[in-house]
Amino acid sequence: MKIVLQFAIVAMSIIAIFTALLFSGQTDIFLKALHASALFGFLSIVVLALIWYERKLLARIQMRIGPMRVGPFGILQTIADAIKLVTKEDIIPSETDKILYWLAPIVVFLPSFVVWTVVPFTPSLVIQEMELSLLFILASSTLSIVGLVMAGWSSANKYSVLGALRATAQLISYEIPIIITALTIAMLANSLNIIEIVLSQSSQPYLLLQPMGLLLFFIAALAELGRTPFDIYHAESELAGGPFLEYSGTHWSIFYLAEYFNTFLFATLVSLLFLGGWLGPWLPGIIWLFAKIFIVISIIFWIRGTYPRLRIDQLMEVGWKGLVPLSFTNFVLTAVFIYYKWPLWILGFLGLMSILVIMFAFKQQKSSQPPSIMLIPSSEVRHV
Amino acid sequence: MAEQNENSPEQNLKQTQEELNPSKVSKLRSSEKSLLRLLENENPVPNSVISQSLDEIVLSVPTEEIQEAALKLRQSEGFAFDYLRCLSVVDYEEYFEIVYHIWSRLYRHKLTLKTTADYNDPIIKSVTPIWKSADWFEREGHELFGIDFKGHGNLKPLLLWEGFEGYPGRKSYPFHEYSEW
């Protein structure tokens, strides 16, 4: 009963806001609000599909089939899970700081939704076209880190504080490669507007000019999202749960939703910035965009199913000793190339070469001292 | 008191071990046969009785000398027992018998070291300074049988819950008639 009441209150307040907007004459804000709600609905459905897809893909990698019973091929499984989460008892520990506790999910969730208003699906399908949309996206996604600290601190639990601090360290360090690589792309396209960035890829996608940038952006995005192999801060087998330890039910589902919104956002960013967005022959642009996003997301889930996770200090090492210097080098090199107006395909070639060199160096190191054990035949042991 | 301790190895012999019988000795493995010869010639442990049980050689020592015996067995030439495999406590209702199964990596021979402890006041020196792996075995022996291993230093309860009263390993504990409700 309480839940029905809560839903009723929320629905009525939304309707009240809309009617107020409509009748006050601000029709463009009203239209934008309507579009934003439609976007929210669309994104929620996308998240449902993503969660289902992740479970199916992981299951196939692990030689199982995944959810099959709820709905045909388990399509309705996520809805069932959502209903379960919402109807769960909200256990709030008594010693939490109430204001921070209730604000934290909002602070984590709002930036991850607000940035969607400037993401263009096609040149015409964007809620608010901004000149600085890339900057806006990068800046807003940093805000949710504050919410994480609030969540960890307000739960009166030393493990969530530890988890929140670890998470903050991880997320802040991996912001740098993301921002620098995104700025490199902006430099190449000479604009911070995502629509113009995509349009400037009409001759070739930036994947060819910036293979190193794509790799760095992708790995740093994995760390930003808290996905394997960087998901130590909410890994269950460590200090059980991290900053979201004391959240249950609806509160926790907001964090979960924010995580999936972010996953979709970064996959879209990768497709828009590096893979050419909606550009492509004969099919309509939106289908190309979704196909590219689908491929990126599949790779993200694939990595989740394969790799173990890194320890927190190893994670920081990879970030600061590996990704940050490489992204800075990439940035400076691109700047030099643009300034001297050298042909850009050499840049792409250099990027590819450097990736191959790094892979080769890793392989050399592994095969020069391969970890191994000795196998002693029984005849030797018996004589000993 | 001293008499009781002198008698108990003899009691051991009657109860669980056999006297050194040449036909049984011939069934031992070669490493144990050479160990037996070594023990018969130069036994580093005084006051000990050598016997055999199936395929093991048993050395029984009096209660107070267990720590020196263990040390000598570890350090003497030709013995080098550096590995303690098992430490068990057996309740014979008139005395406790503590059995050490030890093994030498260098010479590949094994030995069973036995000693007894008084039933009403079981105190025995710990062998943890000599073999560190005896640590938890002695804790368990203390907890289940009530034997006080002097020199161990950390005889906290290991297996039973805190506040458990009694020594369930002893024969006198009413185990098979024990019911909680």
Binding site: L58, L239, A240, I312, P371, S378 | C86, H101, S133, W136
Partner: protein, 374 residues
């Protein structure tokens, strides 16, 4: 962070309780860690949550009933435990097991080793954070457990190896099923190996973690793969061969560094060696033979005496010390469990490493609480 500014700050080590219910302690095991930042300063294991008094119970049961108790000690390698007890009683009674029964026993014990190591592989991956190895590992365990069901009648608590031999004749399809299963198992072991062993992230998580050198390992009483990882060549199947291991040739994996990766890799290699053992034993298996030694009564009454038998459990050296006073119930049964002794080394291995590493070290020790607590 200059030293002067932090000198006057009083810092206290945090006590972290990885309690009896925790996703990564394998069973009901409680570890209390004192942590300074991320480094472990002190570790105290608390056991006893699964203590069932097996040793005391067996003083009130007849010998064939005690075999079922031994099944439940190390519940991942049931047949090896039964083997240990039956070997001890057979030593006491001085009976010889017929050849066919002995070969079948050996084959079943080695298969049990493979299934136990498969579970180790899965949980090791889970501790490291990979979700796929456990699914692969359990799939192979299913195969082996189905085979066990057809031979012994039960998937886990078999109660099949009895005093004097086996409980009943293995089914006619015994050899056929094995011949079909072994290539599948080999292929699966290679798959599992490829997935995790040389994975860069797994190497980062397990190389040079929890190092213990050979002399320390011997001091603390380690046995089994944990001891062999430190470079010590010690295996009960070679030092005191039981059953028919003297007639089989196989390699012994021995590690170099004594770290977590070595303990893991040795078990993977042991799986391959077990398949070799089973193949050789299958060839040497006589087609006809008795299942039990003649003259063993239903309720055996071993003569007065004591005996100590050792087997190579997947976890190490399982020792059983039986004192008999001539009756139909044992006077004292003492179980020397390998995990009990291995756990004592946990403190030495973990102090000084990170909290996340303690989970990996505990996983690599491969303890089973059933035999730690008995």
């Amino acid at each position: 962070m200059s030293n002067e500014s932090t000198k006057n700050i009083e810092s206290v080590d945090i006590m972290v309780n990885m309690g009896p219910q925790h996703p990564s302690t394998h069973g009901v095991f409680r570890m209390v860690l004192w942590v300074d930042g991320e480094r472990v300063v002190e570790l105290e294991p608390h056991i006893g949550y699964l203590h069932r008094g097996s040793e005391k119970i067996s003083e009130g049961e007849i010998y064939p009933q005690v075999v079922t108790l031994f099944d439940r000690l190390d519940y991942l390698s049931n047949l090896n435990n039964e083997m240990a007890f039956c070997l001890a009683v057979e030593k006491l009674m001085e009976i010889e097991v017929p050849k066919r029964a002995d070969y079948v026993r050996m084959i079943l014990c080695e298969l049990n080793r493979i299934s136990s190591h498969m579970l180790f592989y899965g949980t090791m991956g889970l501790d490291a954070g990979a979700m796929t190895p456990i699914m692969y590992g359990f799939r192979e365990r299913e195969r082996i457990q189905k085979f066990f069901q057809s031979v012994t009648g039960a998937r886990m608590m078999h109660n099949y190896i009895q005093i004097g031999g086996l409980r009943e004749e293995p089914p006619k399809s015994f050899q056929g099923q094995l011949k079909e299963m072994l290539p599948q198992l080999s292929k699966a072991i290679e798959e599992c190996d490829q997935l995790l062993t040389l994975n860069e992230v797994f190497l980062l998580r397990s190389k040079d973690i929890g190092i213990i050198n050979g002399s320390d390992a011997l001091e603390l009483g380690l046995t089994g793969p944990c001891l062999r990882a430190s470079g010590i060549v010690e295996d009960i199947r070679f030092t005191e061969p039981y059953s028919l291991y003297n007639e089989i040739d196989f390699n012994l994996p021995v590690g170099v560094t004594g770290d977590t990766w070595d303990r893991y890799a040795i078990r993977i290699a042991e799986m391959r060696e077990s398949i070799k053992i089973i193949e050789q034993a299958l060839e040497l298996l006589p087609d006809i033979g008795e299942t039990k030694a003649p003259g063993v009564r239903l309720i055996p009454r071993p003569p007065k005496g004591e005996s100590y038998a050792r087997v190579e459990n997947p976890r190490g050296d399982l020792g059983v010390y039986i004192v008999s006073d001539g009756k139909d119930k044992p006077y004292r049964v003492k179980i020397r469990a390998p995990s009990f002794a291995n756990l004592q080394a946990l403190r030495k291995m973990s102090v000084g490493s990170y909290v996340a590493d303690v989970v990996m070290i505990l996983g690599s020790l491969d303890i089973v609480l059933g035999e730690v607590d008995r």
